[in-house]
Symmetry: C2
């Protein structure tokens, strides 16, 4: 029996955060693909509160919520790169930006990308404000934490990798290098630093294209 | 100049979490009352992302978001009781429940209490489900973390103290000892453990009553 199991879904940025952290730490794990439309009894048993992926199972003990899992991984496996800085203020900043990216990132950008049309001017404006806040924060910095990545950078995986593909599939203009140069530089840094641990871009593009067509068909 | 400042609002459970943690640690601080309807330029400067209270200012460096502040306090001041357990799994559980109480607690209970009437049956059902999850988790335990309080218990201050007053003011039946015995025992434990650091109950009742009357007048 494997000591570490991840219950997740391929193509989910939340699942990917957990896999990325385990890979960076060099922790071997068994991946259990969940069908998010027909969740397994095991998943519901391990995460009765949110009933969501990802769940990390370590020696039979379940942990849910990707940011909670990431800190658990860092607290448990000390080898490999640190996900959390040592200094209390730097730790607070990593947690602050991770929380912000987690709470606002996916929902804000998803709304702005997924539902094009004139009526969504406000969603697009909100997305621009959100991206501007990140661009300001990243000025003169390689990562959110400075020279080294932290929890916040891993939490930003949706923006660094998924968002670019969604923009391409949907054909919406939301980001360019002139507008958000610091954010674009961070995206490049993320993709180059974690290159070997990212999902296959073509395969993810096809998955996202499929969902977009499905959502478009459901609306019309 | 004080080393530690808290920008907050009297009667805010989010502000109270920070004050409670500082008091438990024996950290002296200056409290700066913010008018949440007319926020000070200082608050906006220190929390440009959320523009919300509370903000902790320590040696001129600002930290926002109450749960982030609580972990910062624990990371920074090692004397006094620990807010975070030492064991990685216990730490993860403290963060998980704190996050759940933070994200779901205030909004779910507020909706169920504040807007009475037949049309809010669903809000009340959601509140009951939420309280049931907490009751299950607290079975056989003094605090969320077991014998000692953690981040999760402090994050639960709204339920332990504010919620009872709101129920009383609004006159809504949402909780009793028969239905949620473990949760009610935890509430008693919270109020007895932190008695000397809680807001004045009569004064808070008056503030909440005032807001309720104001909200009722605005609706009619």
């Amino acid at each position: 029996m494997a000591e570490v199991k991840v219950f997740g879904a391929w193509g989910s940025p939340f699942t990917h955060r957990v896999e990325l952290a385990l890979k960076l730490k060099g922790v071997e794990y068994e991946f259990i693909e969940e069908d998010v439309r027909n969740k397994s009894p095991q998943l519901l048993q391990y995460n009765p509160v949110y009933k969501k992926i990802p769940v990390l199972l370590h020696n039979g003990k379940p942990i849910a919520e990707s940011l909670v899992i990431l800190e658990y991984i860092d607290d448990t496996w000390e080898h490999g790169p640190s996900i959390m800085p040592k200094n209390p203020y730097d730790r607070a900043m990593a947690r602050f930006w991770a929380k912000f990216l987690d709470e606002k990132g996916v929902s804000t950008l998803w709304k702005a990308c997924w539902i094009p049309g004139e009526e969504h001017v406000k969603d697009k404006e909100e997305a621009q404000e959100f991206l501007q806040l990140l661009d300001n924060e990243l000025k003169g910095k390689k990562f959110f934490g400075g020279d080294s990545f932290t929890l916040a950078d891993i939490a930003g995986n949706f923006i660094a990798f998924w968002f670019g593909i969604i923009i391409e599939v949907v054909g919406v203009e939301l980001m360019n290098n002139d507008k958000f140069p610091n954010l674009c530089a961070w995206i490049d840094e993320f993709n180059s630093s974690f290159k070997e641990h990212l999902p296959d871009r073509d395969q993810l593009t096809e998955v996202i294209r499929g969902r977009f067509l499905e959502a478009s068909a459901a609306k019309s």
